[in-house]
């Protein structure tokens, strides 16, 4: 190939659209190109253009608008415009060159031929057929290695059938059985049914330490009411379950038949496990300074998970598990200092902790609920407890909430009847501000304490909210108040009104709008899911959104969240403080393209919701 056309080839290969072509096709591409110059003020595309012509901007800039003169997009260097077909035209797009521009034009006949030959290339232009986000995600997470704990299922880790014993066998025979088989735990089976588990730990703690006779039945020291997993459960979820419940063994059941027993050791052998270590270390801390030292490892956890290819979903689960553990630990340390709580209570998390979507760059969003009581000093006790816990979290790097969504604020610390009144109020009189609060209330989750104080209230609120169209409408209104950007123009983020900014706030402009949509869908059907992805899947299941729309939104969410997680890892590694602000210049053209797709998905779903609102005046 001529060296000069090599420059043109390189330019083509750097564009998102052409980058999917194989090397040999890229080599042939420059010879198919027509170079065109359009001065500022020219109409774009020019009159003699044909449907399917592909225009790649080499220099200069173009504004694209719809018939209502609303800005649809702004093309700069490296951006591609495919001239739509007259029939299925995308609502008449017209443009104007706003800076003298040089284009590389791939004529329609050649473009069609390429689309025909390379389906990946065709997908870049075929809005109906394309599933770019899911594909992008696969490529994005291609780093996940074959046997990492993030990709294997529990079934793959089970190496032998579980050893079992009857509940009426003696403790001594159980111990002998364990020694012979060299296992640290036995399943206790009664009539072919799993009734419990007995471990080394149980022998030590419940028999040797208490002086119980070794001739007693093993059933007297076993743990009943077991958590189990299936062979299909992802190993990572099993790991999180164990960290959350503070247990070390999980029976694996196929149907009702035990097929294995996995331990934390099995999983730790499969790496990716500092979440478990971290939770264990946190549990051992007896003071706030000790806790703050241990939690210094939290950034490491995110680095490790992101680098081993964890999805944003997994990362959120892991970080939230750690922050939950910190919260529980602080509550316990608090009880030691302030005394046991005078009445039953529950510590609640909302925001990203409530939804289990945290990353290391997070602030506190929490609340407290306690049993109705006339007792003196109850308010005062919980005020001091909340202050202690939130200050402790702050010292451990989970900073105070700048918006004061925090149990140390009186509005977020209420009795059961106080919360019932407040939640009823916001649903009943839904103005903008009430619904901003409601968005928090419906993300609340019990972290520690009596879940019986809050759960019934939550389900009651979900049922009530569903019957209140004005509330649902205002929630939708609020969810639509933040629009995603249009895309990028050069090194800037281009907003819907044409404004340009030099950083992308990936949380505010991407993740929160999706979380807002998901919450509205959940409220419409009184779904009790909390995680945005769970809410979206639920919305697909009950038919609130179509399968494709749901899949696209999930893809957009995962993509944005993964990008944020990676951005934060880069910042930590560079010795900086992690944040949610991504400068577009750090993004590859491919990443920008996928981001733009993600924004497009959000904008479309917002538009649909807005249309439904306008159509009925409610949802």
């Amino acid at each position: 190939m001529d060296a000069e056309l090599q420059e043109i080839r390189d330019f083509l290969a750097a564009s998102v659209e052409f980058a999917v072509l194989p090397e040999d096709a890229l080599d042939r591409l420059p010879k198919l190109i027509i170079v065109r110059y359009l001065r500022r003020g020219s109409a774009f595309p020019p009159d003699n253009t044909q449907a399917s012509d592909l225009w790649l901007v080499r220099t200069g800039a173009v504004d694209l608008r719809n018939t209502r003169e609303e800005l649809l997009d702004k093309l700069g260097e490296g951006d591609v415009y495919a001239v739509p077909d007259a029939e299925n035209g995308s609502g008449h797009v017209h443009g104007q060159v706003i800076e003298d521009a040089l284009f590389y034009l791939l004529p329609a006949s050649e473009a069609r031929e390429l689309r025909h030959q390379y389906p990946d290339f065709a997908d870049r232009f075929d809005r109906v057929r394309r599933r770019p986000l899911q594909q992008a995600l696969e490529a994005f997470q291609g780093g996940a290695h074959g046997d990492s704990v993030l990709t294997v299922s529990v079934g793959e880790l089970v190496t032998r059938a579980p050893e079992s014993i009857a509940p009426d066998a003696s403790i001594q025979s159980a111990a002998q059985h364990m020694s012979q088989q060299e296992v640290s735990a036995l399943l206790v089976m009664s009539g072919g049914e799993l009734v419990g588990i007995v471990t080394d730990h149980d022998l030590r703690k419940r028999c040797l330490a208490t002086g119980l006779s070794r001739n007693e039945p093993v059933g007297s020291i076993m743990s009943g009411r077991l958590q189990t997993v299936t062979p299909e459960t992802p190993a990572f979820e099993a790991l999180l379950l164990m960290s959350r419940l503070d247990i070390h063994h999980l029976p694996v059941l196929a149907g009702s038949r035990p097929v294995g027993l996995i331990s934390t050791t099995d999983l730790i052998r499969h790496q990716g496990t500092n979440a478990v270590y971290l939770v264990r270390d946190i549990r051992r801390c007896e003071s706030v300074p000790a806790l703050s030292r241990v939690t210094e490892a939290l950034p490491e956890l995110q680095i490790h998970l992101v680098q081993s290819g964890a999805t944003a979903f997994h990362l959120g689960q892991a970080v939230t598990a750690v922050v939950d553990a910190m919260t529980r630990r602080l509550l316990k340390i608090g009880f030691a200092e302030l005394g046991e709580p005078p009445v039953p209570y529950a510590w609640l998390a909302c925001g990203s902790q409530g939804r289990r979507e945290q990353t290391i760059h997070t602030d506190q969003d929490n609340a407290l609920i306690y049993a109705d009581s006339a007792g003196d000093g109850v308010h005062d006790y919980f005020a001091r407890l909340a202050r202690f816990v939130t200050d402790g979290l702050d010292r451990c790097g989970i900073v105070h909430c700048p918006g004061d969504v925090s149990a140390h604020a009186q509005a977020w610390r209420r009795s059961v009847s106080g919360w019932r009144e407040e939640i009823t109020r916001v649903i009943h009189d839904p103005d903008r501000k009430a619904c901003m609060l409601a968005a928090h209330y419906f993300d609340l989750r019990v972290v520690y304490g009596e879940s019986g104080l809050f759960e019934p209230l939550r389900l009651e609120a979900l049922r009530y909210a569903r019957t209140r169209p004005p509330f649902l409408a205002q929630m939708a209104e609020n969810a639509l108040s933040i629009e995603p950007p249009l895309g990028f123009f050069r090194q800037l983020v281009l907003s819907q009104n044409g404004d340009q900014a030099d950083t992308l706030d990936v949380k505010r402009q991407g993740l929160l709008p999706i979380a807002g949509l998901a919450r509205v869908y959940a409220l419409q059907t009184a779904s009790s899911s909390l995680h945005t992805l769970d809410r979206l899947r639920e919305a697909v299941r009950v038919g609130t959104v179509t399968r494709d729309d749901g899949a696209n939104l999930c893809g957009a969410y995962e993509h944005l969240a993964t990008l944020r997680a990676r951005h934060q890892v880069d910042q930590i590694k560079a010795g900086g403080r992690p944040d949610n602000f991504i400068p577009p210049k750090t993004l590859s053209p491919l990443e920008r393209g996928h981001l733009k797709d993600a924004f497009g998905v959000i904008a479309t779903m917002q538009k649909n919701l807005r249309a439904r609102l306008a159509g009925r005046g409610s949802l």
Partner: protein, 235 residues
């Protein structure tokens, strides 16, 4: 001054063609030049650049020839071509530094006649386009004289002269380096190119011309004769 105009130029080309034996130059001259009254956007051009060992046609040699055709203002990369010429003398170090063509590379090239033949075939029926076209015209004239014993009478557009005229018309003073290809391209928001490579420079001149026509004529027609380079001896 009243000039006989392109009519005379076209008649002389026809005459020359009749006198020449069959061959590339005869074919070239026998193909009429585009209508000088036609709009540039309807005219065929061939942007050409020569890399040479110096600027003096009588003393220096052609090292490579690059070209790309334009149909109106569409630059067709499918026609882009570059030919290296085997030199008979050593390449002076001073010029090798500029265009990075070394003796070894030049030794791999074809003969000058070969390059010339391909160029003339590509240029038939088109107007040549070059930046500082007198250099190209001078070297090609000399090559044709040497090879075919005849002048070649190439109708040409010079983007440098065009730029000068446009500046004069706006009564702007010209800075000494302001007429260089790179500087002019920059003025029209064209991308920077790695210069001193025949095809590259040909393409760079073609893009510059498209920009000049666009700014000169707007959406109106621009007759070819308004931009044609007019060496005094012809018309």
């Amino acid at each position: 001054m009243i000039r006989p105009g392109p009519w005379l130029f076209r008649r002389r080309r026809r005459r020359l063609a009749e006198r020449l034996p069959a061959g590339p130059l005869r074919e070239y001259l026998a193909t009429d030049i585009p209508d000088p009254g036609a709009d540039c956007r309807e005219t065929g051009f061939l942007a050409v650049d020569l890399e040479t060992t110096g600027l003096n046609p009588t003393r220096d040699q052609i090292l490579s020839i690059g070209w790309v055709a334009m149909n109106g203002m569409d630059i067709l990369l499918s026609t882009a071509e570059q030919r290296w010429v085997r030199t008979t003398r050593e390449i002076p170090e001073s010029s090798a530094v500029v265009h990075r063509i070394t003796d070894d590379q030049a030794a791999l090239g074809g003969s000058l006649g070969d390059g010339l033949q391909h160029l003339l075939r590509a240029m038939a029926g088109r107007v040549m386009l070059a930046h500082h076209a007198t250099v190209e015209l001078g070297f090609l004239e000399r090559a044709c004289m040497a090879k075919y014993g005849s002048p070649c009478m190439i109708p040409a557009v010079d983007t440098l002269r065009l730029a000068q005229e446009m500046l004069h018309r706006r009564q702007q003073t010209v800075r000494s380096d302001g007429l260089r290809l790179g500087a002019l391209r920059n003025q029209y928001n064209l991308p920077p190119y790695r210069g001193h490579d025949a095809l590259n420079d040909a393409l760079a001149a073609a893009e510059l011309f498209a920009a000049q026509v666009s700014h000169l004529a707007g959406d109106h027609a621009l007759p070819l004769h308004r931009v044609l380079h007019r060496p005094g001896t012809f018309w």
